[in-house]
Amino acid sequence: MNLCAAAAALTACHPSQPKQQFGSATVYGSAPAGDHAVAPPAASPADDGNWVMPSKDYAATRFSGLNQVTPANVSKLALSFTFSTATTHGYEAPPLVVNGTMYLITPFPNYLYALDLTKPGAPTKWVFKPKPLAASQGVACCDTVNRGAVYDAGKIFFNTLDGQTIAVDANSGQQVWRTQLGEIQKGETITMAPLVAGGKVLVGNSGGEMGVRGWIAALDEGSGKLAWRAYNTGPDKDVLISARFKPFYASDRGKDLGVKTWPPEAWKIGGGTVWGWLSYDPETKLIYYGVGNPGPWNPDQRPGDNKWTTGVFARDVNNGEAVWFYQTTPHDLFDHDDINEIILADIPWKGQRRPVLFRPARAGFFYVHDRRTGQVLSAAPYGYVNGYKGVDLKTGMIIPNHDKDPKVGRVVRDICPAAPGLKDWNPSAFSPVTGLVYIPHNNLCMDFGAMRANYISGTPYVGADVKMYAGPGGNRGAFTAWDPIHQRKVWEIPEDLPLWSPALVTAGGVVFYGTMDGWFKAVDARTGKQLWRFKAGSGIIGQPISYRGPDGRQYIAFVAGVGGWAGAVVSAKMDTRDPTGALGFANAVKDLPMKTTAGGMLYVFTLPR
């Protein structure tokens, strides 16, 4: 088909790909030799054996510098201890480890546990129960998840589903402060992990499917008092756009675009939330974060570019001033939130060292931006895409495929990637050893029927009937090792189920990830060859980590607990006879209730002495 041919020119299509076995790697090339991408040292210091934030470091590498576990010995990994979290909803958070204590933050009701790693069996030191409002469960679009806590300077910081940010003393488990930021009456929840940088705790809201107005806020780390809040829609003064704002592309320049690119008043309920990941460059004091989808999903109700949704902001951490912005999908059509992880790296680029950021985006392209300006250096699809025809590197604009435009009153078939994107929230890992980015992602397409959405505060504001299913090849997930400089796959493992688990890569050369039917896998970072696997009691969507225990040994840890948008069919006990359940995800995972059950269990492994 000519559409496919157009995309093939951009290496989007691979119809002639040989039939692959789910779970085993196909190698397409080798890791780049010689000069390759590295993480900026200021944002990615040497590993001290702790794991203090979900992304491991400010550069968001999810790279462990520990090297006791190697491809040669990983098959000897043995279970060290387990811990039940007493929850049965989607567990997306990582364990944190700080100087001999492990911290776990659960989905609603957001228990915070401290486990003593210095004692056999890691007994509980304390548990902090924040008691969020039960009603918040009714406005959380995609399961009652929490994506992690963060440690800094003696305190643990985390968010609750009902919109609070809380600081707890890491030793005693006593509350230091708590600040209410979101309002569930408006449909706001908070599910993201905060980032602590420059003395600020950075937090954003969720609720892009509820007609909220998205924002990011900075709280003073010591007191919890609001330092600044930047909205992602509305007039420039609310978006903290000032003379310092210098977007690279002309389409992002102009006064009050956050108002003018919407129908009257629509920006007030237009989404643009911040429920994913933030990165931070300590040298420039800039934070980088992606903005969620515009609301409602029905695009006919919001003609215009819908700024500043589905794009990336760089802001000054001190006062929130916007420095640059790039809009990945102006007037988003498919719920392609841009909230995925942003990995900071320094790369050789046309003979020079260039400070960049990597973004395996939901729309299906792997973006490399200059992180000083937002300029797009490259953007290639890392899987099958037909909803767009590519990215024009001159204008920076994504090239739409108008054949796939939703329209009220008709159902558009076979849109790829589907609403969760080629990749959703579950972050990649980047190894400065191999120079590769390890991307856990989906391969899903959808039918999309747009219809009129009615805004009633505190209820969903979507306006679409969606049904998802496997993309070309039949594998619903894929784990891809990506060369970010040459913009190509090095190896890929097709997975039967959608891949909703994040990745971990270690200096020992092993990559870890989990599947929704409960397999925790270790594969070779260079070839993708499976080296070891372990079957957990519930599907895995939690972030794996690696730390050095008080005994000096390297440990690997993750929490199993299926759920999230992809696993809500299990955790929310849905009836899969309705293909549109969970905003259309139910249809893609009808078999999941037969393959796993709900749970919440920490697993920790190490090599035998």
Binding site: A134, A135, S136, Q137, G138, V139, A140, C141, E209, G409, R410, V411, D447, G449, M451, A453, N454, I456, G458, T459, P460, Y461, V462, D465, K467, A568, V570, A572, K573, M574, D575, T576, R577, D578, P579, T580, G581, A582, L583, A586, N587, P593, T597, A598
Partner: protein, 184 residues
Amino acid sequence: MSSRCRASFTLLALTALALGACNREERHSRAKPMGETVPAGVSPDTIWPGGTVAQTLDPRAKIYDNNAPAISQGQQLFSQMNCSGCHSHGGGGMGPALIDDEWRYGGRIDQIATSIAEGRPNGMPSWRSKLTQDQIWQLAAYVRSMSGQPSKDAVSSRAESMSNTAPQTLTPREPAHTSDTAEQ
């Protein structure tokens, strides 16, 4: 049109009406108006200390239950009030499934009307101030129809939205258990 023809047409129409009335809802166009409130004290519970208390069905139940216009109105409200945003077309999502056989707060129409009007603590909003009592009963009638409770001639043969869901005339009738221990 000849008078004979008109007469036979009238007869045909009357016959059709009479046949149609057999299994359709009763319309109380001249009945005494009912109090416009949702039922008070309708408990989803099944245990009463000291002995079972007879649970009488609210008298309005029979007006709305199995009533085609009420179910049809409820079907529209289900989309317009964004019920479908949480419960989808009955499979669930943010809210529980409604096409299955499990009812946390009871599956009788008056129990469902109470859930809609008063809300429930784990996320179901209270619609008392947003909808009229008549609308709440209509919604409850439609919600019951999602698990196939009414007779097939009372439900719509087409879906309200452009989904890939089957029409309600094909919905199998589920038993209604007061339970939330759905198998996973």
